[in-house]
């Protein structure tokens, strides 16, 4: 008998609790908003990141083209780097990693390079506040080549 009574009491308690849960809908919008907020934040972040990567790609492409042109006319690494630094805005010039091929001390650049190709490569790391998911930075690269016109 005591077993059945306890079960009945338990059933009544459960039914009351369910009824309370169904009839009270206060704070529901807040809960729904809290559920979708991370998704909204990810979408917003993705849009901003895409725009930033696009700007970086175009800036870097423009800067490498200008730098390669300067290199084709002067055959001077310093002129190449300074042209790139001046043309890379709005990116931070100090964070741009530049590589010039072939190097200044290597043939044909150390003798008569006219007619050979000069390639300027640059990379730029866009830092991201997502280190905890393993995505610390996005690296954007660009390269440009020009035929050297400079004569010794």
């Amino acid at each position: 008998m005591s077993c059945c009574r306890a079960r009945r009491e338990n059933h009544v308690r459960k039914t009351t609790a369910q009824r309370t849960r169904v009839t009270r809908d206060g704070g529901q919008a807040l809960v729904e908003f809290a559920l979708v907020l991370p998704v909204l934040m990810i979408a917003t972040f993705a849009i901003l990141l895409t725009a930033e990567v696009g700007v970086a790609r175009l800036s870097l492409q423009h800067a490498t083209a200008e730098a390669a042109r300067a290199g084709a006319l002067t055959n001077d690494d310093e002129a190449i780097r300074s042209t790139l630094a001046a043309a890379v805005t709005p990116l931070v010039a100090e964070r741009v990693v530049t590589a010039i091929e072939p190097a200044a001390g290597v043939p044909p650049r150390n003798s008569d390079p006219r007619g050979s190709l000069l390639v300027v490569r640059a990379s730029y790391a866009i830092p991201m506040p997502l280190r905890f998911v393993g995505l610390s930075q996005v690296v954007v690269t660009a390269s440009s080549a020009r035929r050297i016109e400079w004569t010794p």
Partner: protein
Amino acid sequence: MDAVRDDRGQAVLLAAFIIAIAAAVLIGLQLQQARAFALERSRRAGEAAAEAATTAVADAYAAALREAVAKKRVMDIGRVIGSAATNDAARAAAAEASAANGGSAIDDVTLRCADRRVEVTILSSGASYRAGFPAGECSRR
């Protein structure tokens, strides 16, 4: 009718709309960026090709000028820019520069001597790019 009267779930519906708009913006942004980047790359490759072809023609012009001075003759600029060797050198230089910049193939290379200037025109993927250098031997217009 319950579904119509019920006021639960508007936030989720609104969020779904916002996410859909965000996804559309993201895809559109990426497509436009890829297009702008490809255009920029193609333009830069065309410019590099025109400059490279002009350098090759200028080298041929300088060699012919040196030869004419050595032989004490008047240089025939028409023969220089009309020769197959100069045209082939210009085309090869343009193709090399375009390929190195990720550009497309060179469709045509035109050399023109007018207004005291040699002008090289490159046609690549329907777009033309020009470069040139001064040459006193070319007649005025």
